[in-house]
Amino acid sequence: MLESLYKYAAPQNFYQLSRRLTPWLAGAAALLLLAGLAGALWFAPPDYQQGESFRIIYVHVPSAWMSLFVYVVLAAAGITGLVWKVKVADALARASAPIGAAFTFLALATGSLWGKPMWGAWWVWDARLTSELILLFLYVGYIALQGAIEDRRMAARAGAVLAVIGLINIPIIHYSVEWWSTLHQGPTVTRFDAPAIHISMLIPLLIMALGFKLYYAANVLVRMRCELLEAERNSAWVRQLGS
């Protein structure tokens, strides 16, 4: 286990592994997303209160979950890169940022679309929507910092410090915003007793969530390959690939 971890921490080995894994992950993601969408659009019954428009949660909720998940991955990869100087971890952090920002934007956009018929406004200063907006700002800041520092090694390490500061601040921001105002419906899936969502609606949601996760995995692997090629452009193995 540890040995293979060492092996794939080397950029060239990781590059080959990622090349083999990507088609499988992308295929599985496509299947899951199709199945999830079918379940979401046909098999799940309309909500007794929100009618058909509740179906947007099948995109909204997985993207909101992913937006946080990707930030945690970004910070964890940043710390790994900072402490153990693993180039692959640096590439993971750097490649995750735009995808995470895209998920955050998607969660905001779908939330806004859903808010129009439900709350009667495109945007409401609701706590969770607002925290999501601040999360988007954190992602944008990270990407801007990466763009401002030319040296990739330094950019990765500075980004790691920023990501950790952000990670500590996310719960503080979240709870202070929650305290400030809340309109959003309470959590319906992550409760310690039985979820408040019916099983016929829950299963497509979980399939979609898994599909989003695999899509992220496939996408981040492709982006990481790009990052690694750029970072290692002067090393022998990249030259060999090119020749």
Partner: protein, 224 residues
């Protein structure tokens, strides 16, 4: 040189430098009062409107003024190389950074408080909001200097660093803003402000413990 005297030396040097370049200290203050006095032109001088937006405007402008002054914590020292001397010193970098942050707060954070009192009068706010405004600023501005120092260290010497720094720092100031303006609003409505003050104090303690470490780590990355 002992650790304490190194701390004092850095603190004294930064305070002296600040007092010799008085314009750099006065400019953010003028900016503060100027920006805050733009709002009545935009929303009208109606007393009840000003009473509603007053605490928020005073706080948001304090936040902007604090952000504007962050650049000077490390920038000049980075340019003339004295930051590298600090970095090479035998004393722990965390401590020397803390001294710089303290100096920055004394020069740029503390003067915001009397300025806010003047703005309190300009916005015709009741006397009941005076004391909470003072206390929240006293608790909040050090958080600005501490958090700001960590991010200023990350962006020191970068092209377009000023705007980038503002982009990075402003989202992190939101909790302070929420609790501070909440406290002032509560006080104006005759409610208790203890909860908000405790939260602000907690944020200050958290920033005090973690941010100097983050600032030192960031400096090591930028200089190393």
């Amino acid at each position: 040189m002992s650790v304490a005297s190194a701390f004092m030396a850095v603190l004294r040097r930064d305070l002296l430098l600040g007092l010799r370049h008085r314009v750099e200290i006065i400019n953010p203050l003028v900016f503060y009062i100027l920006i805050a006095s733009l709002f009545p032109f935009a929303v009208g001088s109606d007393r009840s409107t000003l009473g509603i937006i007053g605490p928020a405007v005073i706080w948001v402008c304090a936040l902007l003024a604090a952000t504007l002054s962050l650049d000077r914590i490390f920038h000049a020292d980075f340019e003339d190389g004295s930051l590298e001397q600090l970095f090479l010193a035998r004393q722990p970098l965390v401590l020397l950074t803390s001294a710089k942050v303290l100096a920055h707060w004394l020069l740029c954070g503390l003067p915001l408080i009397p300025a806010a009192l003047a703005l309190n009068a300009l916005y015709q706010l009741p006397v009941t909001s005076l004391w909470p405004m003072l206390t929240t600023l006293l608790l909040g501005t050090p958080v600005f200097s501490l958090t700001g120092a960590a991010l200023a260290a990350l962006t020191v010497g970068l092209r377009g660093g000023g705007v980038l720094l503002a982009l990075l720092i402003l989202p992190l100031y939101i909790p302070v803003l929420i609790f501070a303006v909440g406290a002032v609003g509560n006080a104006m409505n005759g409610l208790s402000i203890a909860g908000e003050l405790y939260f602000l104090a907690a944020l200050l303690v958290l920033a005090l413990t973690l941010m100097p470490l983050a600032a030192a780590a960031a400096l090591r990355i930028r200089l190393g």
